[in-house]
């Protein structure tokens, strides 16, 4: 299967799942008893968050492959995956913030564990980009970025735990969006939205990676001719 065909199928799947999932979420899934219609943003917010985690994990996997095999194509793949992760992470913060505003009237609350965790991760991966910008391209930058990406993926569960225990003493988790058991219709809509988000991330990833590869090939060509 050629790359462009695969990309087309993927973007079609993404569109299909997302549109279908959101439609289901808005019109078919039952409304939440406590929060009413505003709870519907959950169908976007949580899949985006999970997709961000997936991107960071994928980026860390590629980083591990780089360190293992010394094959420098994994560097671009890792970088692109993390870039996707940061985009989805920003969207998580944005949608979470909107949800917080609708639910409790504040744009930000330290009691919302998911938001706090993503803030920490956002800071961490922003530093990842600083690391890349301030190091000369070459094997050093590749390896350093890869190691830092591994630190990031380890930071995710550690921060999760940290924010959880912090809630008991520092910022009491009075409000929580922790999903209880989801009834069948909600679960289905959620899963379809999740599939859609993942497909969207995969599509964007492939497109951006292709673009970056072309960029670097162009640079090499220019240099060879120089």
């Amino acid at each position: 299967m050629s790359t462009s065909l695969r990309n087309s199928i993927l973007s079609l799947a993404a569109t299909g799942f997302l549109v279908g999932g959101i439609a289901l979420a808005l019109f078919w899934a039952p409304e939440d008893a406590d929060q009413g219609f505003s709870q519907k943003i959950f169908y976007i917010h949580v899949p985006i968050a999970l997709t961000a985690y997936a991107c960071f994990g994928f980026g860390a996997w590629k980083a591990l492959r780089l360190l293992w095999t010394r094959d420098s194509r994994y560097d671009l793949e890792s970088y692109t995956a993390i870039h996707m992760g940061v985009i989805f992470g920003l969207l998580t913060l944005a949608t979470g913030s909107i949800w917080a505003k609708i639910s409790w009237g504040h744009w930000w609350t330290w009691g919302e564990r998911q938001l706090v965790l993503f803030l920490i991760l956002f800071l961490f991966y922003s530093s990842y980009f600083m690391l890349r910008y301030s190091t000369e391209p070459g094997p050093r930058r590749q390896r350093n970025s890869a190691v830092y990406a591994l630190f990031g993926v380890v930071l995710i569960p550690v921060s999760f735990l940290a924010v959880r225990i912090a809630g008991t003493i520092l910022h009491p988790t009075i409000f929580t969006h922790e999903g209880a058991n989801l009834p069948g219709e909600m679960l289905l809509a959620f899963c379809i939205c999740l599939a859609g988000m993942l497909a969207l991330a995969a599509t964007l990833y492939r497109v951006e990676l292709a673009g970056k590869r072309i960029d670097s090939s162009l640079r090499e060509l220019r240099e060879l001719l120089a």
Binding site: E136, P137, G138, P139
Partner: protein
């Protein structure tokens, strides 16, 4: 002992080595010459394992512990004495009879009297001698020397020359001015 095929090294956009073909046989004494910026230092660093090639192949048939590298920098700690510096490297290179060996090297290169002085107080020539001691300390099979006579006075140069003359190991020297080494060389490579 060293074989390079189509060896290339790039730093960002700057290509320093391009498709280099080089062979250093075991026991050989090879000179690498070229003007400043031609990549001599880069080649030595690649052979020492301090850098990785961008493309091409480089085979160095010597484990890390058997390589002696003399760089532009003396690679000694300024705040440690000459003896302490050599002792540290002696430990790291697992040299037997460390104390005797360090003492012998310092004496051989005329540094015995300054053995308890901090390297930071040494002159350029003395630092170079200390660096030579460091590079030769563990009796390496492969010597990679980058401008070894840099900074040495006549006496220091003689000491180094004598040391090089006695060795049966493989030597790769990078220098912009071969001088007295030209006669010893078994092969010469010129980097453009």
């Amino acid at each position: 002992m060293i074989r390079a095929r189509k060896l290339s090294k790039r730093f960002g956009d700057k290509r320093v080595l391009d498709g280099l073909e080089l062979e250093v046989p075991k026991g050989g004494f090879v000179l690498v010459t070229g003007p400043n910026g031609s990549g001599k230092t880069t080649l030595l660093r690649l052979c020492a394992g301090l850098a990785a090639p961008t493309s091409g192949e480089l085979d160095v048939d010597a484990p890390r512990g058997a390589i002696g590298f003399l760089a532009h920098e003396p690679l000694v700690y300024r705040e440690l004495t000459a003896l302490e510096n050599l002792d540290l490297y002696g430990r790291l290179y697992r040299i037997r009879e460390r104390r005797e060996r360090c003492g012998a090297m310092l004496e051989r290169f005329g540094l015995w009297r300054s053995r308890n002085e901090r390297a930071g107080t040494f002159s350029r020539g003395m630092l170079q001698r200390l660096a030579i001691c460091r590079a030769f300390l563990h009796d390496p099979d492969l010597l990679l020397l980058d401008e070894p006579f840099d900074g040495l006075d006549a006496e220091g140069a003689k000491m180094l020359y004598l040391k090089l003359a006695e060795r049966g190991s493989t030597v790769l020297v990078a220098t912009h001015d071969p001088g007295s080494l030209a006669s010893r060389a078994t092969a010469r490579f010129a980097l453009a």
